[in-house]
């Protein structure tokens, strides 16, 4: 078995019995990245020296046998919106091209404390605005399963890196599907956490009321190990949840079936526009989950069709406010060839932001401006309440809901980039979860024409344990998560 094929748990066993060193594993990944990433383009920054330094430190710790965690010496990568001290954090935007944070985000700090090894930072749609990574200010990431297709977005670089064996796990970030959708397109497991389960401190914000950091890995079990390390209250993020973090991996080890769980299938997610191959895979997966002992019932989420317009209106508004700080004064790009401070603002923002970012800043500024606020922003926030109530009602009778992640498999590079509205509609099954602030897991459940298909398992706030249990039991009976793209063996 090659080193990049090891699961986190397998690597941990070899590391703690000192059959392999963290430096060897880290070097194996760095070598693969150097060799394969020029075609896939999943990394914007490779922190080689820093990674080797961390790996050697982990090896010392393993030698001393003190304070070992399941992630000691395990390499990983992070979406480039998650601040890393001394390592460029660009959000794949030209406006932050040379920005080096002087502090770590809490999620990174916790992984550092667990002695995980940061390999580098992953490409994304600029500031998280997109569903394909085509909006990156630097380059487009290719889907490892077929280089002519997108990896999904906005955490497309993280998903592609996990799928291609260029990292064992990655931290993604989900504002409106940005972990789940690329996980589905690339055939990996991704968790959108409950809003507030993982601290947002040091996460460069897109839409502050939606943003969540979540793990992406090759199995539900690996996702659970990462979640245990990064979740929990943080005094630096007042919205981070105070409830204790569960020992998810222990629950998974003990679970044998899904008896006693009731799972709802929302009618509104199996509609026209859902591709036949995706529907077939989902229906098959639901039967397998039923066979594991769960009771499956039909439910309704009547306001589903309004999720996309509500999501985008609120996102435009929050994003335009959050992106006001990029003004060329304190950090990032600064165009200084004008006469006044106002010139710096206009020229920096014109040169530094890409087309989609400008479009969303414009639409958000419009939605928040005097005269239009009630009709757009306030209206959207009211319909958001109705969408939340739909979920609350469904969870009165169900422990979880199962739906597709995306209506199709990964689309072609270039297919939707000229029509922004068409691109927005690819998020139709993922955005409602962010409106409600609930968790959702994306699990591979099929392959069609060489491209992966994902299943989405949603639950009420803080139901991560249940979602992981369902996903883990499903993966114990199926091997879709064990299938790899052709470049896996290169």
């Amino acid at each position: 078995m090659e080193l990049h094929e090891l699961s986190i748990q397998q690597a941990h066993e070899l590391l703690s019995s000192r059959k392999v060193s963290s430096e060897e594993i880290t070097r194996a990944y760095l070598e693969r990245i150097e060799r394969l990433d020029p075609q896939i383009k999943s990394y914007v920054t490779i922190s080689k020296d820093f990674a080797l330094e961390q790996a050697r430190e982990s090896d010392q710790r393993i030698k001393s046998g003190q304070g070992l965690t399941p992630l000691t010496g395990i390499p990983y990568s992070a979406k480039d919106s998650i601040s890393t001290r001394g390592v460029n954090t660009t959000c794949s935007s030209k406006i932050l091209e040379n920005y080096k944070p002087f502090y770590d985000s809490t999620a990174i700090k916790r992984l550092k404390a667990a002695n995980a090894v940061l390999l580098g930072k992953n490409n994304m749609d600029e500031f998280g605005m997109g569903s394909s990574t085509e909006n990156s200010g630097f380059f487009t990431t290719h889907n490892p399963w077929n280089f002519d297709h997108v990896p999904g977005g906005s955490s497309g670089g993280s998903a592609a890196a996990v799928a291609a064996g260029l990292t064992p796990f990655a931290l993604g970030e989900d504002t409106g599907g940005s972990v789940r959708m690329p996980a589905s397109f690339c055939g990996v497991t991704g968790l959108k956490t409950t809003y507030g389960r993982v601290s947002r401190y040091g996460l460069i914000p897109l839409a502050s009321s939606f943003d969540t950091i979540g793990p992406m890995a090759r199995s539900v079990y690996d996702v659970a190990l990462v979640l245990e390390a990064i979740a929990g209250h943080d005094p630096k993020d007042s919205t981070s949840r105070i409830e204790p973090v569960q020992q998810y991996s222990e629950t998974l080890k003990k679970s044998e079936n899904l008896h006693g769980l009731r799972i709802g299938i929302p009618n509104e997610y199996f509609v026209e526009g859902l591709a036949q191959d995706v529907e077939f895979s989902l229906r098959t997966a639901i039967k397998q989950i039923e066979a594991l002992g769960a009771e499956v019932v039909e439910v309704s989420l009547p306001h589903t069709q309004y999720a996309i317009p509500v999501y985008y209106l609120i996102l435009f508004a929050e994003a335009s406010s959050n992106l006001a700080k990029y003004d060329g004064v304190r950090f990032g790009l600064s165009e200084r060839d004008g006469d006044s401070l106002m010139d710096v603002y206009f020229k920096t923002r014109e040169a530094g932001f890409g087309a989609e970012t400008k479009r969303r800043i414009m639409l958000g500024t419009f939605a928040l401006s005097a005269g239009y606020y009630d009709a757009y922003y306030l209206k959207a926030q009211k319909v958001r309440t109705l969408i939340r109530q739909d979920f609350q009602k469904a969870f009165e009778t169900c422990d979880a809901l199962i739906t597709p992640v995306a209506p199709t498999t990964a689309f072609r590079i270039g297919e939707k980039i000229t029509n922004p509205l068409d691109m927005y509609l690819s998020d139709v099954f993922v955005v409602a979860v962010n409106l409600a602030g609930i968790p959702a897991l994306s699990v591979p459940c099929g392959i069609s024409n060489g491209l992966p298909i994902g299943m989405q398992i949603m639950g009420p706030p803080l139901s991560e344990e249940t979602l992981l249990r369902i996903g883990h039991m499903y993966q114990s009976q199926t091997d879709w998560h064990m299938k790899h793209p052709p470049c896996w063996n290169d």
Partner: protein, 103 residues
């Protein structure tokens, strides 16, 4: 039900918003935004169908109620590290072009 808002999306509106958003759009971008704004605003107007009478807006995302913490003194970021990202600095201050210009 909120009343329908009639909006004339034209270059004038797009330029006004660009001014508020501090974006120096090219003529090509302005024209593109006019047509895309029309499509997107037309699409989101579907929300007018929804009866939101007596429905409160969903402002609060956090589940934490009245969370407070001790105001403890912590070490702040060393000025040098902070200034490493500043485009132009002098004597530990951030340098910007003049704010007022004599007409």
């Amino acid at each position: 039900m909120s009343k329908k808002v009639e909006i004339q999306v034209d270059e004038k509106l797009v330029k006004e918003i660009a001014l508020l958003a501090r974006l120096d759009l090219t003529q090509e971008e302005t024209e593109m935004f006019v047509s895309q704004f029309k499509d997107i605003l037309d699409y989101v107007s579907v929300l007018n169908e929804v009866d939101t009478e007596n429905i409160p807006p969903a402002y609060l995302s956090s589940a934490n109620k009245g969370l407070i913490r001790e105001d403890e003194i912590e070490e702040s970021v060393p000025t040098k590290e902070f200034l490493a990202n500043v485009p132009q600095a002098k004597d530990d201050y951030i340098v910007i072009p003049r704010v007022h210009i004599e007409q």
